[in-house]
């Protein structure tokens, strides 16, 4: 050891960095919407109404967490809503022949995993671009649903199957909300506190560099597709249970709402950065906006316009702020 120079670990504390982050800005937006909603409608600040509002985002958010990791790694899965349709159809078909609740859950999860594996194999095994692969499987998975069901619907799920989408753990706290919170924690830990999460960031920033650093890039991406498929299966169980029926058009258009949620949460659509807390807040923002507009009897099409404007607005805000200051 000749000359030892001291390089500090950090110049800015993690706290300072967190305060100046996207997530902080988004949290302020969420609080603003909450306050605005409570002024706009007298029914908003009601425990049961708020509880109902969470159903607007819990199922989508479960998928959004897995999708966030996938997008951070530089890939995307647009087939998630179609996986819900296929998984729900499979469960419905099984329910018709008298399969019990445990069996239905197993089928839902397995179909999700299988679809995720199929996407992952096409992307990592054959090196195809994920956006193209999953646009293809989006039609494929939902197409199978349509072939099986046509204009029919499956009903007649076992009565205890209803718990996943309609049950309450305690007072106004629904099973779905608890599951959402649990999954959020699991994904936050996975992304932010494990070696696997670090690899996801490394791959998203520079996949070649990550490969040359000894990261098994293909394996990590395959696992991410599996997880996204699995979460689609979980969401399919919750949604099917909540609706009590399956039609092939179930969850139509969710893939874009989920991607919107992820991007609103501060995940870079080009990969490399983003956080789970951001996606959690974005889920609440989207849920609150939808619910608030619903209370005001705003039609669905206007809601999607508002969500779209919100996305562009929140993303443009920091840029506009910078331009205004210069």
């Amino acid at each position: 050891m000749s000359t030892t120079r001291n390089i500090p670990d950090r110049l800015r504390s993690p706290l300072e960095r967190n305060l100046k982050s996207w997530e902080t800005l988004l949290l302020l937006v969420a609080i603003g919407i909450f306050v605005a909603n409570s002024f706009a409608s007298p029914y908003f600040l009601d425990a049961w109404n708020l509880s109902d509002a969470t159903f607007n985002f819990t199922e989508k958010a479960m998928i959004a967490f897995a999708m966030a990791l996938l997008i951070i790694s530089g890939e995307i899965d647009l087939s998630v809503a179609a996986i819900i349709a296929l998984a729900s159809t499979a469960m419905g078909a099984a329910a018709q022949v008298g399969v019990g609740t445990e069996g239905l859950v197993l089928i839902g999860l397995s179909v999700g995993l299988a679809c995720g594996a199929f996407n992952g194999l096409l992307v990592t095994g054959l090196g195809l671009p994920s956006i193209v692969v999953t646009i293809g499987t989006m039609s494929l998975f939902r197409g199978i649903s349509f072939i099986i069901l046509g204009d029919q619907a499956y009903r007649g799920y076992p009565s205890d199957f209803a718990y996943f989408g309609q049950g309450y753990v305690w007072w106004v706290i629904s099973f779905e909300f608890v599951l959402f919170a649990l999954i959020a924690v699991i994904y936050a830990v996975l992304l932010h506190l494990t070696n696997f999460g670090r690899a996801v960031y490394a791959i998203g920033n520079n996949a070649t560099g990550a490969l040359f650093s000894g990261i098994r890039v293909g394996r990590v991406k395959f696992i991410l597709f599996l997880l996204t498929g699995l979460m689609s299966g979980v969401a399919a169980i919750c949604l099917t249970s909540r609706l009590g029926s399956t039609r092939p058009s179930i969850a139509t258009g969710w893939e874009l709402e989920i991607v919107t949620m992820v991007v609103l949460g501060g995940v870079n659509i080009l990969g490399g950065s983003g956080s789970i807390p951001g996606v959690v807040i974005a889920a609440f923002v989207m849920g609150l906006v939808t619910f608030g507009l619903g209370l005001l009897n705003v039609p669905g099409i206007v809601m999607s316009i508002v969500i779209g404007a919100l996305l562009i607005g929140v993303i443009a805000l920091p840029r506009l702020w910078q331009m205004w200051r210069h």
Binding site: P8, T194, N205, N206, G209, A210, L211, I215, R216
Partner: protein
């Protein structure tokens, strides 16, 4: 301000382009401090200096990318300003950058005339005129390239010629060449020299930036030395020696460029037999001992990097076996190679070496996470500890370990990549062009470090195209030509002459 661009009938004593008292500061850094620079018509001026001396900044000032804070730019003695690159271009200043931005999917002619293509009726591009003009420029360069070819079909050297053609397509009077030979092979460099001679004969003023002394003394008429943003000295190249230039550049005597070392070879650690690839290389066999530095020399395209990447697992060989410490191993991915103690410092630092958008400590620990973590969970304190240890060992210069690697200089990025691999405690380290494009001071540091690693018992493979480096550092050299081993030379037989002749395939019969 309107410019009068008619060329004066200038004598070569009056500079065509001159800078006086130019200062440029950035937040926290004074990149140029009161520098002057004179470029004469029909002469090549070599601009030399270490990395960070201000060479690139001066190029950016000359080409209108940066505006100087103080000082004058004069063309033909008249003061001018270059508020945008277009002004510099219309004043006849053009630059061939180190890494020129070209467009793979466009044709050669389109690349050459992008932004100033000849227009026909309705303002549409006149393709016929453009192609014939491009053909004219290319043939003037002695390049046999069809202007209609799509750029991606050309090799590196031809792409470089297209970049040069692009620079010359604007009717330049001042040509700036920023390390033009970095990507070229031996014969291509010779062709470039001829081109420079041709430009001189046309009365153009040339600013030639290079780290390679042999080419400076070969091609330049004048020199200007920069150090730490200041002009240290200038004059005719005939009146200066290599040692004097080095002294001006580094501000001290660099008497001995390569470290002396005590060569103690240990046991055989790596054994490669019959490595083969369908297109890139064939029949590569060699062994490597602990503490040994094995040089791999060859021309660009001889298959050295391709072989190394197969050994590291980024491409798969079609045949061949590898043993580490006598045990047969299979390498199908870099992860496999790393787990067996083989690591690779790539030539392409930006893309393959470091992950620019991640902080230093995360880059350093990336392949060692299994060691710094516990049951798959990150332990930041352990990561900082490991990153600090190796950053300090390599004398890394950075504001903090949390700084993004992309914000570091080239030399420091290279240190991060090396630190990353040393932290895995490897058995064999492969360094691919480890000192390419870095300055003399950093080069010496890398060489010294390499010697230290070998002394500690690490086996080093060094791929290099720089003969002095191969001669100065290697215990043994393998010369590759057209994908095969052309010769294996012992310490005593490594001379520039033998290297060049084996690489070029001249002395096939001599022993």
């Amino acid at each position: 301000m309107p410019l009068d661009l008619r060329p004066d009938v200038s004598t070569s004593d009056a500079p065509l382009l001159s800078l006086t008292g130019v200062t440029k500061t950035f937040p926290g850094v004074r990149a140029l401090s009161n520098v002057s620079l004179n470029l004469h018509p029909g002469k090549v001026t070599a601009l030399v200096g270490e990395n960070g001396a201000g060479k690139s900044t001066v190029v950016k000032v000359l080409t209108g990318i940066y505006q100087p804070d103080e000082g004058d730019i004069r063309v033909d003695g008249r003061p001018v300003r270059f508020p945008t690159p277009q002004y510099a271009e219309s004043a006849g200043v053009t630059a061939i950058h180190q890494e020129t931005v070209l467009f793979d999917e466009l044709s050669v002619a389109e690349n050459i005339f992008l932004g100033h293509a000849p227009k026909g009726r309705f303002g549409l591009i006149d393709t016929a005129t453009m192609n014939s003009n491009a053909a004219e420029i290319l043939s003037g360069l002695g390049a046999k390239i069809d202007p209609g070819t799509t750029l991606k079909e050309l090799g590196t050297a031809n792409k470089h010629l297209v970049a040069i053609a692009r620079a010359l397509s604007v009717d330049a009077r001042v040509v700036i060449m920023d390390e033009p030979t970095a990507a070229l092979s031996h014969t291509e460099i010779e062709e470039l020299y001829e081109l420079v001679e041709g430009l001189k004969a046309q009365g153009k003023a040339i600013l030639f930036i290079s780290h390679k002394f042999d080419e400076i003394f070969r091609i330049a008429d004048d020199y200007t030395v920069f150090r730490d943003g200041q002009m240290i000295g200038e004059g005719a190249i005939a009146n200066v020696s290599e040692a004097e230039l080095v002294k001006m550049m580094v501000g001290r005597d660099v008497s001995q460029i390569f470290p002396e070392r005590d060569r103690q070879l240990g046991d055989k650690v790596l054994d490669v037999q019959g490595y083969e690839h369908p297109t890139e290389f064939a029949d590569i066999s060699f062994t490597l001992r602990r503490g040994e530095i094995l040089g791999f020399y060859g021309l660009v395209g001889a298959g050295r990097s391709e072989f190394m990447q197969a050994l590291f697992g980024t491409t798969l060989p079609s045949a061949g076996e590898v043993w580490i410490d006598g045990a047969s191993i299979t390498i199908r991915s870099p992860a496999d190679a790393v787990s067996h103690g083989i690591v690779y410092v790539p030539e392409d630092r930006g893309k393959q070496g470091a992950i620019g958008a991640l902080p230093i400590f995360q880059n350093v620990t990336l392949p060692s996470l299994a060691r710094t973590s516990q049951k798959g969970f990150l332990r930041l304190a352990e990561e900082f500890k490991l990153a600090r240890e190796y950053s300090e060992r390599l004398d890394l210069r950075a504001a903090s370990l949390d700084t993004h690697v992309g914000n570091l200089s080239g030399g420091n990025q290279q240190k991060v990549v090396i630190a990353k691999w040393l932290a895995t405690e490897p058995k064999v380290i492969i360094l691919d062009e480890p000192t390419k494009g870095i300055d003399i001071g950093s080069k010496a540091a890398v060489h010294e470090f390499m010697a230290e690693l070998a002394a500690q018992g690490l086996a080093v493979i060094m791929v290099s195209s720089e003969i002095p480096e191969i001669v100065g550092m290697s215990d043994r050299v393998i010369v590759m030509r057209e994908g095969r081993i052309a010769a294996e030379l012992d310490r005593d037989n490594i001379t520039p002459e033998t290297l060049v002749s084996y690489a070029a395939g001249i002395s096939e019969t001599s022993s």
